[in-house]
Subunit: 138 residues, 2 copies
Amino acid sequence: MSDLLERLRGRGWRMTAQRRVVAEVLEGDHVHLTADEVHARAVVRLPEISRATVYNTLGELVSLGEVLEVATDKRAKRYDPNAHRPHHHLVCARCGAIKDVHPGGNPLADLPDSERFGFTVSDVEVTYRGVCPTCAAA
Amino acid sequence: MSDLLERLRGRGWRMTAQRRVVAEVLEGDHVHLTADEVHARAVVRLPEISRATVYNTLGELVSLGEVLEVATDKRAKRYDPNAHRPHHHLVCARCGAIKDVHPGGNPLADLPDSERFGFTVSDVEVTYRGVCPTCAAA
DNA sequence: AATTGACTTAGACAATGTCTATTGTAGGAT
DNA sequence: ATCCTACAATAGACATTGTCTAAGTCAATT
């Protein structure tokens, strides 16, 4: 199923029950869990998994480029398994729900040299904020 | 000097040495300090100022719309006194230096309805990442 | 100058994240 | 199939950032 696990094995990752469970918890679209949420879900499948292992595994997945860290929230970091298709985020200001979005335009090109302060600019992150339908109805 | 202090007084803010010092520490362009950095600088001028007061004062300034919270860093929140001219941020991936930038384009218009998931979108934050001249030289 | 309610303080507490010493185990070697 | 060993997992201490509370202090009004 998960070709993520295949890719990781191919890179010499030692496969353990803990790592498999963390990778499985992250499967799906529009998934943006905090480390503790990942831990809570992992514990359901593997009760003895520790917090430290979840943090370590998430850190490794980020280093390997298989998962992105997202800082839309001002509290905990969130982990986004959608690392292979570039995208940005749409966040509900009330409930914190996060959607992956693919805006048009090219914000990198919109930053003139005069506004670059000599930096070599390589990346842009765009975060849209608004209110989701559920919160708007309430 | 600081018309910020004038505005605050006009809004019924009780003026205390602590609040004056916090407001003074935030003066300047491209200032993006964490709460603890603000505290460290405030202590130089007013040794007995407490951490709680710095947090409280920063929170009040944010509520009043005089200071923005910035989450470019994944660790602590940063406070940006440049609240009256809309802008975005350019961050050095190595040393964390932050510059205020004013890109062209209109990212809000670049998000098609089909990518809005029914949200009422009201705001966009753009964070450019790169390497600053100092770090590039090193 | 007296009053009063808002402000400040110290320190406990909470949430998130990191590190270490110890124990366990995946996967190759035999 | 069993053994080895380096890598991984664990529990829990520790670190950082932020919040809260109870008690004392003081700015602005009277």
